[in-house]
């Protein structure tokens, strides 16, 4: 346990939907299921137009180690496979399925047979699970660290530090039994010294519930955390719950920790009982343009517009639609964008709230420096990015540890001059990557001579 907690930015909570029991939306007429939901390689489509599919039918198989299979979220007929633009800027295959409205589960789905770690790992991979906290790292890849025998602690992320979002809160309150089963399941394959739930104190119901459910498991610790942002950032969460520091360039597994989102764990527990892969998500629909905020269970691939319509639409003109919350969510360009595996919230902002603020000169107030949970100097990056000499710029940025930036947005949030600090950091990271690739290529070329 750490004495001083990291992450102390007061963002508004706006947990309007904390009490809202998720409502299942009816089968959409059509879904567009992207082959890419995470970092890593997109899945390869294994269906063709005209194929009959059911809920849970495999439509895309994992292409490589860091990749994850994709399943149909409705029953119906494959209409087409088309290239669609994703927010990362690439064109990725999407399988478009026309729903028959029946939502018939695939009759071939089987409960996975789990006897040892290898069969468990295969089952996790087949479930299509990726980290549901937002980053979407394929869970099977992460859990493989357990097989290596280096893991001592399991940290379960129930911080949910973004404004508005309550889908993890609902998981902890409603599916605490599944969480118990999930912890027991993982404990079969790894002798954890400790299992810690990190939950922000603004979720007293979830904390009480989990304390009750895990009362007889001494190795499980429910760790209430300050209700400040960004408690859910992986490295912040690990530090604040266990006191461990993940060194630069290393993974949590290197300090013996695996971090898992609570909703991911609950899904895993339900998958090993039912065999139904990841095909639907609990989504918080909220934001200044939403008339009545709600939690919705939506099939993956449903268009955002349909989900928004289902909760009763908007109360004013839409300015911005975000996948995720307002601190780290990604702005999308159309409400036709599909729900992804990692979508835990749809935040819709009014035109007034969507307008980017006018940025003025840095007044050196140091708020960004105090706010940065990683101990970085955000204003320095902005200055280094202005250096015209590429090599000098990249060296300076690396000295200042640009690679440690977790892009949580604290610096931009607190800046009184409204400077786009985190945006600068992203540009800086890209510049360093680009410089390294170009020098590596040049070095290779020189070596060939």
């Amino acid at each position: 346990m750490s004495l001083f907690k990291l992450g102390k930015v007061h963002v508004p909570h706006r947990k309007n939907t904390a009490e809202a029991i998720p409502v299942r939306m009816p089968a959409p007429a059509q879904v567009s299921i992207s082959m890419l939901h995470h970092i890593g390689a997109p899945a390869t489509p294994v269906v063709k137009p005209g194929d009959k599919v059911y809920v849970g039918t495999l439509v895309g198989e994992a292409a490589g180690y860091v990749s994850s299979p994709v399943h149909s979220s409705v029953s119906g007929t494959v209409k087409k496979i088309e290239k669609t633009l994703v927010s990362a800027g690439k064109e990725i295959d999407s399988v478009v399925i026309e729903s028959d409205g029946e939502m018939t589960p695939d009759p071939d789905l089987r409960v996975p047979e789990i006897t040892d770690f290898a069969s468990f790992s295969a089952a996790v991979r087949a479930s299509g699970l990726v980290g549901l906290g937002g980053a979407g790292f394929p869970t099977s890849v992460k859990l493989d660290a357990i097989g290596k025998g280096i893991i001592k602690r399991l940290v379960l992320n129930g911080a949910e530090c973004e404004p508005y979002i309550t889908s993890d809160t609902r998981t902890m309150v409603e599916k605490s039994d599944l969480l118990r089963e999930g912890v027991e399941l993982l404990c079969r394959f790894c002798d954890f010294e400790e299992v810690v739930f990190g939950i922000e104190k603004n979720k007293p119901e979830a904390i009480a519930k989990l304390k009750d459910v895990f009362a007889d498991m001494p190795k499980v610790r429910i760790c209430p955390m300050p209700s400040t942002y960004p408690q859910g950032g992986e490295k912040i969460l690990i530090y604040n719950t266990t006191g461990l520091v993940v060194p630069e360039g290393k993974l949590p597994a290197d300090v013996g920790v695996i971090v898992m989102n609570v909703t991911s764990l609950a899904f895993l527990a339900s998958y090993v009982k039912t065999g139904m892969p990841l095909v639907e998500k609990v989504i918080t629909v909220d934001g200044s343009a939403i008339a009545s905020p709600a939690n919705v269970i939506a099939p993956i691939g449903t268009s955002l517009g349909e989900v928004i319509e289902f909760v009763g639409g908007t109360s004013c003109e839409i300015g911005k639609i975000l996948l995720g919350g307002p601190m780290m969510g990604v702005a999308v360009w159309t409400d036709a964008h599909p729900v992804l595996k990692t979508t835990n919230a749809i935040t819709v902002l009014s035109e007034r709230d969507a307008a980017p603020p006018k940025s003025t000169a840095c007044i050196h107030c140091g708020r960004c420096v105090s706010a940065c949970p990683m101990g970085l100097q955000p204003t320095y990056f902005a200055r280094a990015l202005n250096i015209s000499d590429k090599r000098e710029m990249c060296e300076r940025l690396e000295d200042e540890k640009i690679g440690l930036c977790i892009e949580c947005g604290c610096c931009s949030f607190v800046c009184p001059a409204k400077r786009p600090l985190v945006e600068n950091n992203r540009l800086a990271k890209a510049a360093v990557r680009e410089y390294k690739t170009s020098t590596a290529a040049a070095g290779k070329k020189g070596g060939d001579k």
């Binding site: 003109e317 307002p326 702005a331 159309t334 420096v369 101990g375």
Partner: protein, 316 residues
């Protein structure tokens, strides 16, 4: 969907803090000091304040206009500079000197270095020092108009309460008078009580960290005590000259102090040390302005030494 949605980088919400709001808070915090200054020194003080503020704002406005830079007077920082400079002056300073000092502070110290956020020295402090050097008779620790005889004392020869104290003179004001402002001095420097109010406001509004004024003022007290061995003299040192005004409003300037919290504390201690050294061993009776200016110059180095260690950052 025909409508163009806004696409921008996260975060999509911002805090309510803004540069102009911070400057407004500083102005609000200076209201008690300003009001007390006008009450103590009369309408002449108001004229000095008006001259400084108007010429600072106008100076920045015209500079931006001529240099074809985006207009920045809306951020209110020029108002703060003008007001602070005025509060550092005597009520009997000729208006034309106020105008020149104010223009120097804004144009030479601030605008020529790139405007808000780019100046390395505090404009009001540097403006005051400029005026001290140019018009020695009018600035700083001399005599007042409203209280005491309207003698025009030379800055370097006028009797400070400290000198009076050492001579056990009857002219020495009581500690309470010193705290409330019934003594000679600059418009905004005399009333410690009003400055304290402003300090509390700024801390509550989280505009400044409480440590900086505390270390600066506390440092002067402790160091004076170490030198004189007399707590009473040390208290007079705390309440005299521009210490309180400087510690609360100028040593806490964002632009010209280190960005890190530890750096700010070192900055404050450095100010205290230099102030005491000048007061006890220098030729000038008052050292606050010079101490802040010297520490302004050292700020980038202090900042560099006190940068936070990144979480898990590998050593090179």
């Amino acid at each position: 969907m025909d409508k163009q949605l806004v696409i921008s980088s996260s975060p999509h919400i911002r805090s309510t803090a803004s540069t102009s709001r911070i400057m407004l808070d500083v102005i609000i915090a200076l209201v008690p000091t300003t009001v007390m200054g006008v009450l103590l020194f009369g309408i002449r003080a108001l004229a000095v304040i008006a001259a400084c503020v108007v010429s600072a704002v106008l100076g920045e406005f015209l500079f931006n206009l001529i240099a074809k830079k985006p207009q920045t007077v809306g951020d209110l920082s020029a108002v703060v500079t003008g007001l602070l400079l005025a509060l550092n002056l005597h009520a009997d300073v000729p208006i034309w000197q106020c105008v020149i000092g104010s223009l120097f502070a804004i144009i030479v110290v601030k605008c020529l270095f790139g405007g808000i956020g780019c100046n390395f020295a505090n404009p009001a402090i540097t403006g005051r020092i400029f005026m001290t050097l140019c018009f020695t008779a009018s600035v700083g620790g001399g005599a007042s108009l409203a209280f005491g005889k309207p003698e025009v004392a030379d800055l370097t020869t006028s009797a400070t309460p400290l000198e009076l104290l050492s001579k056990e003179s009857d002219a020495l004001p009581s500690l309470l008078d010193m705290f409330l402002g019934f003594k000679s001095g600059a418009i905004g420097e005399v009333c410690g009580a009003a400055i304290l109010l402003g300090f509390l406001y700024l801390v509550i509004r989280r505009v400044i960290h409480f440590e900086v004024p505390l270390i600066f003022v506390g440092g002067v007290f402790v160091l004076s005590l170490a030198i004189t061995g007399n707590p009473l003299v040390s208290l007079y040192h705390v309440l005299s000259g521009g210490l309180l005004l400087g510690a609360v409003f100028m040593a806490t300037d964002y632009v010209t102090t280190p960005i890190t919290r530890l750096g700010k504390m070192i900055f404050a201690f450095g100010c205290a040390l230099i102030t005491v050294l000048i007061r006890f061993y220098g030729t000038y009776p008052e050292g606050v302005s010079f101490s802040i200016l010297i520490m302004n110059i050292l700020s980038p180095y202090i900042e560099k030494w006190t940068l936070k260690r990144p979480l898990g950052g590998a050593e090179k």
